[in-house]
Structure formats: C-alpha cells, structure tokens
C-alpha cells in the first residue's frame, strides 16, 4: 500500500533533466522521488525541471524534498526549476515562502527554455 504516484525521470542531455510527477506527493513516496532525482544528478544533470502539472496533492514533505534537491544542485552550480504547479500546490509554496527560493514556471516548456532547451 502506498500513495499513488507515477514518476517519469528523463535525462535530456547537456546537463538538463526533467521529472514528471502524476498523482499525490506525500511522506510515503517522497523518498522515491528523491531517489529518481538523485540518479539523474549522479548521471550529470545540473539543471532539473520538476513538472507538477499532474500533481493533485502535495504537502510539506514534498516541499522539503524539493528544497533538499535544490541544495544538492546548488552545490554544483545547478538549478531546480518547478513547473506547472496547480493552484493548491502553488498556494503551499506561498504559505511557506518557498516561492522566493524555488522559482515557479507556468509550464515545463518555459522552465526548459530558461535552461537553454
């Protein structure tokens, strides 16, 4: 039994990766998302786009996981770009003030364009 979440992690080359999430992100599955992201980072990804367009629920454990990834990417001068957060998820960033440290993009295309793709 676990919280339903599909994780699609892709290395696009040139140090850019995308993680598409679909479902709910909570304390039960943040370790899997973190592992998928760390595999990309270990493989050379420096700029990571997290596509949240199909995330119906996220809580502070998801936010904490993203902050951890941001720190990890910053160690190698990389970036974490959060794309397409739905209104309820976006509100979570606003409540916690994390929208100031984690840039939010309207969609994955805009985030990818920001890192030259």
């Amino acid at each position: 039994m676990t919280t339903p979440l599909t994780i699609d992690a892709k290395d696009l080359g040139d140090g850019v990766g995308v993680i598409e999430l679909e479902g709910e992100v909570d304390v039960a599955n943040t370790p899997q998302v973190r592992e998928a992201a760390l595999r990309l980072i270990s493989g050379g990804v420096k700029n990571l786009v997290t596509d949240l367009s199909r995330v119906e629920y996220m809580d502070s454990s998801g936010l904490g996981m993203l902050v951890g990834l941001l720190k990890r990417l910053k160690e190698s001068d990389g970036r974490l770009l959060v794309a397409a957060a739905q209104p309820r998820v976006k509100r979570l960033f606003e409540i916690t003030g994390l929208e100031k440290v984690l840039p939010l993009y309207d969609d994955a295309s805009a985030a990818l364009k920001e890192v030259g793709r």
């Binding site: 676990t2 304390v27 039960a28 809580d59 502070s60 904490g64 979570l92 916690t96």
Partner: protein, 139 residues
C-alpha cells in the same frame, strides 16, 4: 435552544508513512459529509496530512506505534486532534519559526494557514496533541 452533543469519530493508524493517506481520506470523507466546500475539504485534508506526517517523521521509531485521530463534530465547527505518544518537542519554538530543518516547522506553518485555530500541546515523555479547528459556515 438546545445544543447538540458533539459527534465523535476516532481513528487509529499505524505510525507509518503509508497510513498517512488513510487518515487524509478519512478526514476528506468526514469534512465532505459536513457540507464544507470542496476547497475547505482539501484544506482539512492537508492539515490532517501535515499533522500525521509530523507524528510519523519526528517521533523516535521506538517511542510509539500508533497515531490517534479524534474528530469532534459540533454545530459550528469541526475539531480534529492528532495525538501521538512520542517524546514530544518544543512546539512553541517551532510555531515561532525557530525550528531546525526537519523539525516539522513547515507542516505546522501550513496547518496554521489553512485551519482557523491551531494549538499544540506536548511534553517530554507524554507525547504531542495537535488540535485544529475549522468553523462551519453559519446559515
């Protein structure tokens, strides 16, 4: 005018991450039953998820094995208590925003934003009770 006695619903979940969703679903079902709007139902779900996550993540594994959720339905409000019997923590420090990373500060910040009232009672060795209130629309 008579005041109806509160209707109480209790749920015990194993103190494990995969059961936090069960608590969230129960909170959703109850809140929807009480005619909260969809947005308020989702706020209540989020608050319950955060409180349970705190109990699951920030309590030593050997300290307790269950989390108790106690829902009290009153005419004008829904009160939810999330209780664990872990080692407790310095709630005031967390609520003041002085928590260390990973101490659950974000979760309480979220609960405070989406619920109408939040109170955290805890003490060394006696555990933690996160008490949250959402007022029902007055007709």
């Amino acid at each position: 005018m008579t005041t109806a006695a509160p209707a109480n619903v209790e749920l015990r979940i194993p103190r494990r991450p995969e059961y936090v969703r069960v608590a969230r679903m129960a909170a959703c079902a109850l809140a929807a039953q009480l005619d909260f709007t969809f947005d308020l139902v989702k706020d209540i779900e989020l608050a319950v998820g955060e409180a349970c996550t705190n109990a699951v993540e920030h309590v030593a594994k050997e300290a307790c094995s269950e989390v108790l959720l106690r829902f009290s339905v009153l005419e004008d409000r829904l009160t939810i208590e999330v209780i664990d019997h872990g080692q407790g923590f310095d709630a005031q420090r967390v609520l003041n925003g002085d928590a260390e990373e990973g101490e659950g500060g974000l979760g309480l910040q979220v609960i405070r934003a989406v619920m109408d009232e939040l109170d955290v009672q805890c003490g060394q060795g006696v555990g933690t009770c996160v008490r949250m209130v959402k007022y029902r629309a007055r007709s």
